[in-house]
Symmetry: D2
Subunit: 358 residues, 4 copies
Amino acid sequence: MASNSLGQIFRITTAGESHGPSMGVIIDGCPPGIQVETAFIQQELNRRRPGQSDITTQRNEPDNCSIVSGVYEGKTTGAPILILIQNKDQQSSDYDHIETSFRPSHADYTYFKKYGVRDHRGGGRSSARETANWVAAGAVAKLVLKTQGIQIHAGVTGVGALTTSIDPIDLDWAHTEQNSVRCPDPEMAIQMQSLIEEIRDKGDTVGGVITCVINGCPAGLGEPVFHKMHADLAKAMLTINASKGFEYGSGFKAASMRGSEHNDVWEKTDSGEKTRTNYSGGIQGGITNGMPIYFRVAFKPVSTLMTDQTSIDAEGNEITIAGKGRHDPCVVPRAVPIVEALAAIVLADHVLMGRVWG
Amino acid sequence: MASNSLGQIFRITTAGESHGPSMGVIIDGCPPGIQVETAFIQQELNRRRPGQSDITTQRNEPDNCSIVSGVYEGKTTGAPILILIQNKDQQSSDYDHIETSFRPSHADYTYFKKYGVRDHRGGGRSSARETANWVAAGAVAKLVLKTQGIQIHAGVTGVGALTTSIDPIDLDWAHTEQNSVRCPDPEMAIQMQSLIEEIRDKGDTVGGVITCVINGCPAGLGEPVFHKMHADLAKAMLTINASKGFEYGSGFKAASMRGSEHNDVWEKTDSGEKTRTNYSGGIQGGITNGMPIYFRVAFKPVSTLMTDQTSIDAEGNEITIAGKGRHDPCVVPRAVPIVEALAAIVLADHVLMGRVWG
Amino acid sequence: MASNSLGQIFRITTAGESHGPSMGVIIDGCPPGIQVETAFIQQELNRRRPGQSDITTQRNEPDNCSIVSGVYEGKTTGAPILILIQNKDQQSSDYDHIETSFRPSHADYTYFKKYGVRDHRGGGRSSARETANWVAAGAVAKLVLKTQGIQIHAGVTGVGALTTSIDPIDLDWAHTEQNSVRCPDPEMAIQMQSLIEEIRDKGDTVGGVITCVINGCPAGLGEPVFHKMHADLAKAMLTINASKGFEYGSGFKAASMRGSEHNDVWEKTDSGEKTRTNYSGGIQGGITNGMPIYFRVAFKPVSTLMTDQTSIDAEGNEITIAGKGRHDPCVVPRAVPIVEALAAIVLADHVLMGRVWG
Amino acid sequence: MASNSLGQIFRITTAGESHGPSMGVIIDGCPPGIQVETAFIQQELNRRRPGQSDITTQRNEPDNCSIVSGVYEGKTTGAPILILIQNKDQQSSDYDHIETSFRPSHADYTYFKKYGVRDHRGGGRSSARETANWVAAGAVAKLVLKTQGIQIHAGVTGVGALTTSIDPIDLDWAHTEQNSVRCPDPEMAIQMQSLIEEIRDKGDTVGGVITCVINGCPAGLGEPVFHKMHADLAKAMLTINASKGFEYGSGFKAASMRGSEHNDVWEKTDSGEKTRTNYSGGIQGGITNGMPIYFRVAFKPVSTLMTDQTSIDAEGNEITIAGKGRHDPCVVPRAVPIVEALAAIVLADHVLMGRVWG
């Protein structure tokens, strides 16, 4: 059934497989008068694209995008915005060896069970190439949020056992784009880079964690009871390929805390009401309280290895799958712009929802 | 804006505040011919209701429910099912002292900022009383799932620093309803009970973790890319009051794992295809693979304390909020049926979505 | 599947059968701060209720309504509003004779084919009793529209071959509630009343037409391309039991007109832009243009007759259905408040949609 | 707000303006395994395209389409289908003279009031060019329906005062594509052709009526109470540019009929249950009854004339708009494939909705 749309008021609908001519996304509900330049969308896509550094897949996709509709003389018109992103470096033959087999921990088996047919080249709709659509739409969402003074920053805060000890709120986002790992803690970034290289050289892969902080968000966004801000964020984040968990504010740590230490006490300051601590992560009862929003997303290690693995084929026969293809040793550096994009789409949707009642 | 509906095909719409005459939920899209007895819905509500044990709030709500429509001669007719749950033991005066103040880490502040008006008695729609609607609807969803052989079990696996060491798949759910904590590990249950009592006696509260396992789910459920099974589960779980995080399968632990250890290798067995390990948590690419689904939900400590706290009022003046009211020292024992109910609603929705192309 | 909700932002979800304890409607998305009195809702329900005059069914339903949630101290809070309407004068035995037969031009046959089960008493969800839910929700919608200066008036303009010759825009709505037919043309009302009585006395029924005019609607409401104002109105009107057609502005007459006579020429007046004629019916390209909106809805004659009819039973055997029950000889007088209610719900939804980019 | 999607399970989302590089439509929810050839989509587009005969606009748009995604080796995969339709013969300068003026009975004024900006070239999203998206998506829907044995035929049955006297059910659809008017009554087609030519030569335009008949539809499709089959059809038809009214079965004529003549009496035949008459138009209580569905759609005369008209500009000054551009003297011949396409989309959606409950 129809399930390729996200959002209520600001809604994206996506299409495309990695081995067709292009990906495509329609952004419906973008307000008129927003300044949109292709260059900015392209810049965001470049942060996601393969082959951007020595710790990402060496596949080479320029990810050229074009705006087909909805923008006139550099501004949105209120009409739906169709963006196309070209597919280019498709090596479909890379996938011949899995045409009849199910790779471990991939979606090969489940897609086959669900749809009965299989476009095995690149995984069809289960391919992470779909995330290019999200990044393009997220770029437009960021431009909507910019008019409201809302900024979204994400960065890698964990790779394998390595984790930054800096508090999310204190992270200096200026560092993120200065290293290949996209870690906002520059010292940790060096260690993470070494770890990823070491694992890559063994033909193995490793998981990681991305932290996202949203600043400038006014109090009052979020729609109880079934469009709570953090619930919509959780859904969006768990939609990202390879993500395994979501927590906001104190997160899983809250489970071991006492109410007397966890409660965020309100106080009046010169710049308005604030809470002394922010275990709530900027959201209370599903509605933003004006404090910074922050959340963490866990990612599993990439399933495609450069070493041989055993599995089964469609008839259930045991087979060996050779390590092949061009894949990332660690997914999180390239997932940073994806986390930001989906967060931006959710926030833009909530900003517009918040306007309904003035 | 309208935001009180959950689900696409099997969809619930809820209404009611804790201090009105009753709560109400409309279950729309329930297939005809499902056997539904009020007694089963009541039994599920009893698991959630206050005053059920010495470690829950002493408020006394019998939570009597009645089916108003959609069921004829004990079976669903395909028409929408309206269920009412009476409110009874309302001590609105308990809330007089917070009429003009914002309790720390509650939704008082954010609801006021959003809606401009405040039904301060019991928190209005932010009250956990809303979860009675979900449990009633979840009971109907469970009856739909029963016809498909799908079972859902949840239990408390963490309270404060106490955590069971039993693997989710190995938990013996028969134990869950035999202790007040609803912990499926009976030895750990005793320790948890002591901890909660100790904390309650100090007027403090503590957080916890609930684990949920879904058995009997066939391969092929889940609708990429924006209705992935685990993303819909995440959204539902984060909708529960006081929840702070969600992880499925390997969860946050996956972030520190290698691909070579994390991959779930397929093998053929006498009872069909299986994976040797189940780090995927029964879901790959957002679609179920026939293995057990399991996930964990983190809950923060209840914000209402029996001790005094400082805060501000609507004018921003610093005030002291006295410890008062009747609240749970730990939310997780009563949240177990809520987790099950929302999981059942999500699963029933996906079972029906799966039929569209069946 | 779930199909008992109408609207995007201001959305109603309904439940209830004529022979259960009550009907119920949840109004989700009503802005906070709207003054809502049960008395006004009751007054609207009284306009729809059976037994109100000698040309309507003699069934006696007081249609007592109660507001269960979402209103606090006389004002909406932004929470969903649940309204219950009691069922009372149920003579289920009236329907015993059709338990196994399909009445001509009723929904008996199609409901049985679709749902497999049949709550034959009063037609289940196909009963016009459902419209009580719409009228209650429409009353709330009218109160939302009142704050925007938008007024909705409907009246009977055709019964059988009798049709008023007054232009919709020139109708004097003060007359509508002064006659049993609800015809805003008092002279025609007398003829219509005679015709309905004559037909009723023969045990027969007759169809009719309702015209609706909406004044005070600002330019700019309507959401192309799939939520055009008139398309949403058409859908709502065709949802009403027994309705067979919808036309707005020039309607079917436009098919035989020339562009040179049909075009509405813009001119500037002291009170803003106006069109000289209004064949557009206040809507151009799916968006309101500030002129009065008007449309007509056709209703078929009621299918239940007081004379015997032949038909078949579930096994396909030919049977005779005796004329029985208590039904209206002409549906349009009681359908007037229903047309207004659904128009109000559509307009309230569009007013709120219009704010998103406001 | 987002409003460019139609359908629940089989859902289309559209984008594009007449003066951008292309139109684009995403068809989401199309079942896997449906045979789809570009040639068939192109053939349907050719029926809609301008310049196809001497009584349509002389604009020349080849309307070349391409399938970007969702089809693999000639069959749908269950993934969303993106179709692009090239724009080519854009004479944007044709619209220079209306850059600051509002054409009578166009959407110029209302779009400007709503969006604040204006892409005046070709009317932006209000352009009938959008209907190319619908026809492309409708072609795919027809292929879905073909697997179910459902056929949809539409034809022109009225132009100006000329109307065929043949009963909808008796129309011979083989004639439709054999004349430029697309009238299934060949004798009437000749008269209609003459009338349109005569009106065209005067620089004027004329309205018309399209009748649509759906055969092979099983009983049981339609989802009360807010997705009744005919209500969804009405909404879709009223979405078509220039449409002013919709009626199904007996339609507006029902208003003047008696119940005793209007009731469709059931009888058992060798080929199953049938009704002797079909005033119900194949739908009872919003659900199909297995009899042919038929409905009529009224279209107003095209607003763009080849003669001068007065109007106002954005400042409210009175101006004269010269007759210019290339437009159809009568919209209905080219609207026939559009009516069929939207009917097919609605039916495909309902076929899939009908599967939810098996």
